[in-house]
Symmetry: C2
Subunit: 125 residues, 2 copies
């Protein structure tokens, strides 16, 4: 079914504590993941929590990437939401899993803005 | 099943063009939605597209809210991801639907970081 966007929700586990707790590195990896997928970066913002954990978002022309890390669990909750046909969100997902040194990735893709639920006549994908 | 977070994916339709295309207003509504749910705001960033559309994210202590609007469709794709028991993401969802003057909200809640998929012994919810 045709949709406006593809949204991957990825549960990334078995990652390196040190990577998930390093805000600058998480930011760099997330930005590179967006570029790896062929996305165009518009804005980004990251936040470091005490005693550990990083949250951050990269807004792209095609939607966004978001991450929340629990370094003490080796776990990151990642969203990769892309619109249009040019960008493949799975490229970003694969890149993230590799850079975080994950042992397990549990990811699902959800269609967003399914046509028929919004007026068809004005859609120009 | 116990999880680290609750993630609402909301397809919000039948909204006002003028509201969805006004970046300052969308930003204000998203920030207030986070506050309405009892969340603590950490960072936010919004972007206006040409000829129309707004993307933006509010990073909260409890995770994030994100939005992408298609004013020409009266449609917004919204994510409300919250961790912990103190914040109710549905409060934010209801608030957004009302402020965007939506006629239809198609929302589902997904559990993120399901315990058992990450080590239990170090989790302190």
């Amino acid at each position: 079914m045709q949709s406006l966007g593809r949204h991957i929700l990825a549960e990334i586990s078995g990652c390196s504590f040190d990577i998930l707790n390093d805000m600058a590195l998480v930011q760099e990896i997330m930005i590179n993941a967006a570029l790896e997928a062929g996305a165009e970066i518009r804005e980004y913002v990251f936040h470091k929590f005490s005693p550990q954990g990083v949250s951050g978002v990269v807004v792209i022309s095609e939607s966004h990437l978001a991450i929340h890390t629990w370094p003490e669990l080796g776990y990151a909750a990642v969203d990769i939401f892309t619109c249009g046909q040019r960008v493949n969100p799975w490229d970003a997902c694969d890149y993230l899993a590799e850079r975080f040194q994950a042992t397990t990735v549990n990811a699902r893709e959800i269609q967003r803005g399914i046509l028929g639920e919004v007026p068809k006549q004005v859609i120009n994908l």
